[in-house]
């Protein structure tokens, strides 16, 4: 299930063909991932950054646990980035939907 549904976009007056919708949806998620990690990095110390860099082969569950233990305000970071990105879509809804 995509984060951005067509229904949500339509509620903002954005009507896209399937191909554009898929691109937008993918771009939304990719951008969100980038922004979240960029924000997370700002909360890390060098030692934590080294730990994170060393966890590339670690399973998701372990990485998830590490993030929850080491990143203060992780919930706020994710929630804020989601809100900001959705706000940007709402802001550009006229341009995107036309």
């Amino acid at each position: 299930m995509p984060m951005l549904t067509k229904e949500f976009l339509k509620s903002l007056g954005i009507n896209l063909v399937d191909e554009d919708y898929i691109h937008l949806s993918e771009h939304f998620e990719s951008t969100l991932h980038d922004r979240v990690i960029n924000e997370i990095v700002l909360e890390l110390s060098p030692a934590q950054a080294h730990e994170l860099a060393a966890m590339q082969q670690a399973p998701d569950s372990e990485l998830q646990r590490w993030l929850q233990q080491n990143v203060s305000g992780l919930a706020d970071i994710v929630s804020d980035e989601v809100d900001i990105l959705l706000g940007e879509i709402a802001e550009g809804s006229q341009a995107i939907g036309s």
């Binding site: 299930m1 995509p2 984060m3 549904t5 229904e7 949500f8 339509k10 509620s11 903002l12 007056g13 954005i14 554009d20 937008l24 993918e26 939304f28 998620e29 990719s30 951008t31 969100l32 991932h33 980038d34 922004r35 979240v36 990690i37 960029n38 924000e39 997370i40 990095v41 110390s45 060098p46 950054a49 080294h50 994170l52 860099a53 590339q56 399973p59 998701d60 990485l63 998830q64 993030l67 990143v71 992780l74 919930a75 706020d76 994710v78 929630s79 804020d80 989601v82 809100d83 900001i84 990105l85 959705l86 706000g87 940007e88 879509i89 709402a90 802001e91 550009g92 341009a95 995107i96």
Partner: protein
Amino acid sequence: MAEQYQETADRSQDDEPALVHPQDQETAPGLQEAQDRLQDVELLGNSYKVRQMVGNLGNKRTRTWESIAAKTKNGFDLPGKKVLEFRHSRAERKHDEAKEAHQSLIDEHEGAKRDLMESDMSDRLKQRRLNRLEKKQQKQVKKSQAYLSKWENKRSIHKTRLEKHTATMQARRESVSNHYEQRRAEMTKKLLERKVMAEGRKTLRAQLRAEGASSRPWNNEVRSIVGEIPDHQRKRVGEIAIRAQLSNDASLRARFSAESALRSAEQAKISLEKNMADAMMHGSQAAAADKVARDIEQHALPSAQDRLVSLQKQYDSLDENDPSRIIVMADIRNAEAEIHDLTRKTHLERTKAENHRKQNLELLGQEHGLLHEIVSRQVQAEQQTAAHNQHRGQSDQLSAQQREEVQHVLNSDERK
């Protein structure tokens, strides 16, 4: 369209230093394919808070419903509109005909006058005939004018009715559109407000970090370390962070639901205990009332009845002139009154006992319901926790599979 959005997103990203690994800028086809596949799987497989929020909006459903309602009402009004259209059209046609006939009549009169004036008659005769002709023509014109006015009025009335009817139907259609636009504007406003608040919090975090910059001299070092992490791995961290948050939210929701269910069960238990106490009280009060009634029936009432019989015998045995008869008669009346009171009291106690038994039964029925509620709430709490854990387990498993797939492709690319 997506490109326009890309620009918007990229602009916002410029606010923070980019953390792009140089090696990742040239993405291998296999890696790109694997990332695309992973992204597609993620798009289809993940569950997000946003999706849940979006699912609740139901904007389109409301619009569809309103649109159907308006169309249905307009459908009912359509035959009326057709009738009004027919009447208006008929009035219009009749009016045009009357107007044409009126104009023809005037032309005809003008022609007759002209013919008369051009004839060889004497002026006096001409004048006389002209007067007669005008008089006759005036009557005809007056009649024709009345007919024309009649259809003008009718046309005007039918036109007004038709316009009103059409306007009502049109307003219904516009109302649907306006509501949709209104909801869209509200939705946009809400999202923008949330964005502003989120940006405020983000800025505040940045300010707090800047204030403590002297105690955090490592920011550039951290950027450099994290910059060494390949792009797909950084995206993975971002994705896991989002999932961690969502998983946390889901856990909280499940916990709240379970706690709520347990609280309800606890409340039901308290009600059950109170009910049981009340039922016991009603049971004992019913038994007490039964005992009182039984005591009266078995002891007091027979005793009173015996006394009455005895007094009646005594009364019968006394001579009619014996003054004691009056005293015995009074005792008889007292005994009868006592018997009456005892009977009434017995009846009262029996009714009281019956009422207590009814309340007892009612409470027992409620107890059954409460027991059922307790059990169902407890089951609900267990199911919610179990379902959440299962969902979480499945989600982790799916993610692990996806990761393995991507890692496999990445490893094969590296080997190449």
